[in-house]
Amino acid sequence: MKTKCIHKDLIFYLDNELSEEKRTAIEKHLEECADCQSFLAFLKKGMQVIEMEKNPEVSPFFYTRLSTRLEVKPEYQAQSQWVRLAQPAFFSLLLVLGIYGGLKMGSNASTTNANQQTTSSIQMLNDFEAEPIESFLLNEL
């Protein structure tokens, strides 16, 4: 009879964190279950990545780079701190000015429209009076 797969305990089995009783039960199950064996191998290889990649080699120039940064950084930091404060203030001011300008233009728009209508009607009347085409043509004849 095939017992139920024990995938959920295998990571703890690998790390040797199970009780003796549970460990023996898992080992017995693994002897019979090819799927659990295969997953255990997969898990083992996956976790081995950590063992292979940990403790990467540190550059021999680590301290040299660090000491260079130590000399340069304060000035840069002071500057960046100033920029960090000034930048949001500038953009906030720009935003407020934009909103104010927009409101101002919006309130002017209605009066400008009315003025434009009057102006254009006057201009039309003036044009007609200034250059009456009919009388010009009659005079030509």
Binding site: F12, P56, F62, Y63, L66
Partner: protein, 193 residues
């Protein structure tokens, strides 16, 4: 030179003391950052930032904990911030690429593989898979797991670094392992490697 003398030296601006501190702990800090960011170059840059912070804030160190605990705390915080910023940038980049029709996932994977010709594709895939699984862990689980697996720290020291109880560390690492196993099982079933 013991720890208190080392810190006193750094507080007084003694470059020799600082150099000694860097040389003693650089491997530890780089390895901790590497466990979270998964890139040797980024880990080294972050480790430099950690030591710069130590140099500038040495005056605030009261000596209640060990130097290594203080270093682990700064290293994990900085690495998590780095990952958060990278994610945020990645989000905007993907939006940009969606609009401009930029590079797709396949080309990205092939590019990252061509960076490391010494490893074969399966090793690289396995490593990518594990990194992705670790990245998906909640932050506290990720820190506890990284300190335990990459630095082989005992639970008690992890508790000191994270300023939580020993029981919480046990619970975090247990849940981290369970989560990782679930993700790896999912991948195993889908035969993604």
């Amino acid at each position: 030179m013991d720890e208190s003398e080392l810190i006193k030296g750094i507080q007084q601006g003694d470059n020799k003391a600082f150099r000694l501190l860097v040389e003693t702990y650089q491997r530890m800090v780089v390895n901790t950052c590497f466990g979270i960011v998964h890139s040797a170059a980024d880990a080294e840059d972050l480790a430099q930032d950690v030591f710069l912070e130590i140099f500038r804030t040495a005056g605030n160190f009261r000596g209640d904990s060990k130097i290594s605990t203080w270093l682990y705390r700064i290293a994990t915080n900085r690495s998590l911030n780095f990952v958060r910023n990278k994610k945020r940038k990645g989000f905007f980049q993907s939006l940009e690429e969606a609009f401009t029709g930029g590079k797709n996932l396949t080309s990205e994977i092939s590019e990252s593989r061509s960076d490391r010709p010494d490893q074969n594709i399966t090793d690289q895939q396995r490593s990518d898979l594990l990194h992705r699984a670790i990245d998906r862990l909640p932050e506290k689980q990720r820190i506890a797991f990284t300190l335990n697996k990459y630095e082989e720290l005992p639970y008690q020291q992890i508790a000191e670094v994270m300023e939580i109880s020993l029981a919480s560390v046990e619970s975090l690492i247990h849940r981290a392992k369970k989560n990782l196993q679930e993700q790896l099982l999912d991948c195993y079933k889908k035969k993604c490697v």
